[in-house]
Symmetry: C2
Subunit: 435 residues, 2 copies
């Protein structure tokens, strides 16, 4: 079928066959179909949507544009977790070692931060020497030896997705649930996993601001995964305030290590336990939730999770001493500055996106993909939703190296908080779980 | 504004400012905005539409991408006619000389045929030596001397339209009323005319198959023209059968000359008179319809229309003897073949598009823009809607040079006719006139 005939079908709301979608994605990937035809189809898909069958074919075609990893050499059911992105979300760093310690191998291929959201790779690269660009063979070896490995997208996994994503970015076709879902799932299915836990964030710091859209995305993701023969569980979790206290790279890694060492903030621990327990169930090492939770807790208490993380850092070229002395071994910013509240009241709302923007403005994140980041900078949140504040109380501590960046970040932090008169009930951490 | 931000506004159903549209069209024209962003916007416009203000800004921006002709050296109000395209539509060739003879200069820039529709330029080029690629100066001089000139689109008129049209063709964004209308009007407004008569064809051989869509297109075209300060009248006319008897190039030109010589078929004459009378009114040489019709009839009777055509042919490099001996001077096909009816009955419907396709299959038209055409070939229609046919009566005569092309054309002609039992009321020639 000529590309324009395929575009016409989708333009008019029709359904494309798997064969036709396969040809199109292969053509985009090889370059035989020019970008302008791909762009027209992306806009038609944005406005007309994809049916379930089209979604599966689309994700499958992107998956097949590259290599699919074979992790059969690693014993056990391999389970990954994917978050749709938020502010302060360092759960992967806590979760993967704990699951590995409980016998569930976690082959995790992650992304970098862009805009207000952070990226797992950036956080890990705050560890001196840590390499996220392992070869596929080294990745598989690391999963086998440490029980986990955390790397970046390699160029041979779902290359069509990379090409289409770059095009979506400049054609205003990013915010489409079918396109987002097939992009995520094509990469996750290429990891060669058996099961997947999804953390779909909802709220002011998330991509999805309301529960309904988040649920639609979660259901779409689950559908693609299940039709591809994988077990998938999706959690809809709160992102109306940063997760944990730290936002940045070195400070988030430090906070994640704190969790593995038995400390850390309650919300981060709670989410780690819940997602981790589900991974143990999907991984087949536990049959019920209480048992699974207890196994994760035990891996934390006993330090076996921390040891897995140490081994992973070591195998990936990083300085393993960070697990014993994170404060001393991770980079630190030169300056600290407390942003204090003007007036008094109860924290009624936090625009978590603005908190992420503040971190980006300090240098912790990227405005565009080619920006360099400063691993040492970020901020520490001092308050949470529902807290009562007196005049002059600190809202957040900025950690920065460049004085010229402070004012804009401070303004962003200040603009993120809305105080109210009365008691405020904080949102639940987990809204729904879709099995 | 970044192109992706502008695309986003249209994608979400918002309205673009004239300034932003101007920047975009200029960017497409200069190449600073890549094709893939243009393609995404075209699809968003296809699915979301354009408001009146956006339409005007879009057409104006395409107009401004090139040169606007200055015809002030030619006295009088300049009036053009544009048809949206049909089968056997040679009205321009009859009309322009008659209007010129009545004192209304007609600067006509036309297109070539594609698919089942013929093009005025192709018909004229059947005249030995006739050149449709005059320079702008020669074009203006010819309008001044002959009262009419008939040329092709020059590369400096609305170049953005040419670029966008090529992109629409391969991105399934052709059949959009706002995009069609702004494309037509940008080229017509670039001619430097004072007024325009539109012939929007409706029916089986037209681009618009139903009256409602045709009316929408007519209203859209009129709106753009009027907001640009031009007088515009639109006729909605029937295209449920070919106009006149001849379909092809040399034979259509011959039929048009017949009209100028006092002969020709009734329907072609009638439409020529009606459209021509309106041009005289818009051109300010007549105040009422009866007077205008009489002037056109007189120009035909007296042969002054024919003389204008002769002068135009001469000035454009063609052999002026065609006007005295069209049958002898225009190319003729080697073979004739009558397609006869199987069975008997009344002609209840004609798929005029299939008649156009039959002519194209004989070599009179183009399947794609790079195809060469044979000016000598085509077909002569023997029946019209409502005619009663006996078994074996001829439906059409094929004129062809290449025997291998006959069978497919014959099948197309045969498939175009539907016979019924009873009396059939033929459709009116003119459905509506929008002033």
């Amino acid at each position: 079928m000529r590309p324009q005939d395929l575009i016409r079908i989708k333009r008019d709301g029709g359904e494309l066959s798997a064969e036709v979608i396969g040809e199109f994605i292969a053509g985009v990937s090889s370059g035989s179909i020019p970008d302008y035809q791909a762009a027209a189809l992306l806009m038609a898909v944005f406005l007309r949507g994809l049916t379930e069958a089209e979604l599966s074919a689309w994700a499958e075609a992107m998956l097949r544009s590259g290599r699919v990893l074979d992790l059969s050499a690693v014993p056990g059911r391999k389970v990954d977790k994917h978050s749709t992105g938020g502010v302060g979300d360092k759960v992967s760093l806590c979760l993967a070692p704990l699951c590995a310690a409980c016998g569930v191998p976690v082959p995790m291929i992650s992304g970098r931060g862009l805009g207000h959201t952070g990226g797992t790779l950036d956080k890990l690269e705050a560890i001196p020497g840590f390499r996220t660009d392992l070869s596929v063979d080294a990745f598989i070896r690391t999963v086998g030896e440490a029980g986990l490995a955390l790397i970046g997208q390699t160029s041979d996994l779902a290359p069509a997705d990379r090409k289409l994503y770059a095009l979506r970015d400049v054609t205003a076709t990013v915010e489409s649930i079918p396109l987002i879902a097939s992009s995520i799932m094509s990469k996750k299915l290429a990891e060669g996993i058996d099961a997947l836990v999804l953390d779909v964030k909802v709220g002011s710091g998330a991509f999805m601001k309301d529960l309904e859209r988040a649920r639609e995305l979660a259901e779409t993701l689950c559908g693609i995964g299940r039709r591809a023969g994988k077990q998938v569980t999706a959690f809809l979790t709160d992102m109306n305030q940063p997760l944990g206290r730290e936002v940045g790279n070195a400070n988030e890694t430090r906070e994640a290590i704190d969790i593995l060492r038995g400390g850390g903030p309650d919300d981060l621990l709670d989410l780690t336990l819940q997602l981790g327990a589900e991974m143990l169930i999907l991984g087949g090492v536990s049959n019920d939730l209480d048992d699974a939770l207890e196994r994760i807790r035990k891996a934390r208490r006993s330090g076996t999770g921390l040891e897995r993380f140490r081994r992973c850092v070591e195998l990936q070229g990083g300085d393993p001493r960070v697990v014993d002395d994170p404060a001393g071994r991770l980079p630190r910013a030169l300056h600290q500055h407390a942003v204090t509240v003007q007036g008094a009241g109860t924290v009624a709302a936090i625009d978590a996106e603005q908190i992420g923007v503040a971190a980006m403005l300090l240098g912790a994140g990227r405005r565009s993909v080619e920006d360099r980041i400063d691993h040492a900078v970020g901020l520490t949140m001092c308050v949470r939703l529902g807290d009562e504040l007196r005049t002059g109380a600190p809202l957040a501590i900025l950690h920065y190296n460049d004085e010229s960046r402070r004012a804009a970040a401070e303004a962003a932090v200040r603009s993120a908080f809305r105080l109210g008169p009365g008691p405020v009930t904080p949102p639940p951490l987990v809204y729904e779980i879709l099995h």
